[in-house]
């Protein structure tokens, strides 16, 4: 991993999901985001989520329209992080923020990311998906991600009949639902909505 990237290299790197650039952004802003979130009633784990969700938010903006920075990437990214935490904190009824990361309000609403409650839920779903067994991950990916038919899934997974694949997929989906529903963040976000 390089020691530094220019703003345009970072923007380009996020657009093409360059893992080195993503790691650079993650490591560079992690301490600042942790400071901000923990200062505002959050935990280190929540700060990690904010960082993760903010990168996704930036990426979404880049997908939606032609993106160009009107300020430094740092200013822009920290604004996104702050907005992300505001939303998470609001759903947690922790909306008394104390500042620390500077205010950067020169960005348009569109540029400030499209982060919403759905993103919180989807990030939670992904997080819980990663906790499933490798077999479950594979089956759900084949079904939802690659849109494979049950017959194909049975063949790929070496199951004797389609019905085995149907049952397995059902069990995996149930497991995922239980994990998501069991997380307090889910309940708070759903109730907030």
């Amino acid at each position: 991993m390089r020691n530094g990237y220019t703003d345009s290299e970072i923007v380009k790197g996020i657009k093409i999901q360059d893992k080195n650039v993503l790691a650079y952004v993650y490591n560079k802003y992690r301490p600042m985001v942790i400071d901000y979130v923990t200062l505002n009633s959050g935990t280190v784990r929540e700060a990690e989520d904010v960082l993760h969700d903010s990168v996704i938010s930036v990426y979404r903006v880049m997908l939606k329209h032609e993106f160009s920075l009107t300020s430094t990437f740092e200013n822009y990214f920290l604004t996104i992080c702050k907005n992300t935490w505001k939303l998470i904190a609001r759903t947690k009824r922790k909306y008394e923020l104390n500042g620390s990361m500077e205010e950067h309000n020169e960005f348009s609403y569109e540029d400030q990311g499209l982060y919403n409650e759905s993103d919180i839920i989807r990030n939670l779903i992904f997080e819980k998906f990663m906790l499933l067994s490798k077999t479950c991950q594979e089956i759900l990916k084949l079904y939802y991600f690659e849109r494979r038919r049950m017959k194909e899934i049975a063949s790929i997974m070496n199951y004797k009949t389609d019905m085995v694949a149907v049952k397995k997929k059902f069990i995996c989906l149930e497991n995922l639902k239980v994990l998501v529903k069991g997380n307090p963040k889910y309940r708070k976000t759903i109730n907030y909505e």
Binding site: K19, R122, N123, F145, L176, I190
Partner: protein, 245 residues
Amino acid sequence: MNNSKRTLLIEAFLDGKMSDAEKHDFEIAATTDSSIKEDLYLQNEIRNTFEEIEIFNLREKLYEIKNENAVYTKRRKLTVFLTSAAAIFIVLIVSYYFLFYSHYSNKELYNKYYTAAETGNISRGSDSTGLSVFNTAMLNYQNKKFNEAISGFRMIPAGSGQHHAAVFYTAISYMEKGEYDKAISGFSELENNKTSLFYYDALWYSGLCHIILNNNNKAAEIFSSLAGSDSAYRGRASEIVKEID
């Protein structure tokens, strides 16, 4: 409706596998039954999570980075811990060694504590001839001409005011020459005379001679006596006693 049935029904709805009538009934149920409504929302979001392929890939990469970072942090903490533990262990071992095992050899101890006696203004007395001989001998001693110095000191008669000094510097000269037995013999005359100005000096140097000759018992006896005295050698003598114990 139990959980399993609900999940299957919602999947059928979202997969478009319901007849129009079933779909109609389900939509009515979804507006009236909060559990169906909630699960419909969740299962739909699960699908959305997977259907955003690009975002899903990005999430996977970020997840990997987060895990790698956590592993790196853990390794770093472990390395720091192990390094600190190793450093503490080494310090303890070295300290233990020095405390309980590290003794100077007799030669090292001798070299550590031996310095040739200084020559101050010690020429006193009224015998001008003797004084001249004594001063010449001292000059030779200072110039490290020890044989000449010894010859000169021997010429100082027993009743002379420089006699004790002559005996002392003769013995020191022998030490410089490495003739420790002769030095001890010289010091013994002074050790037997507590009123001599050179009494403690003689004890000190005599003790050192016994160290270099590996007579540790005799050395310990002499230095113990010095350690208990009020002489200037008291502190150093105590150190030596600890070393040779």
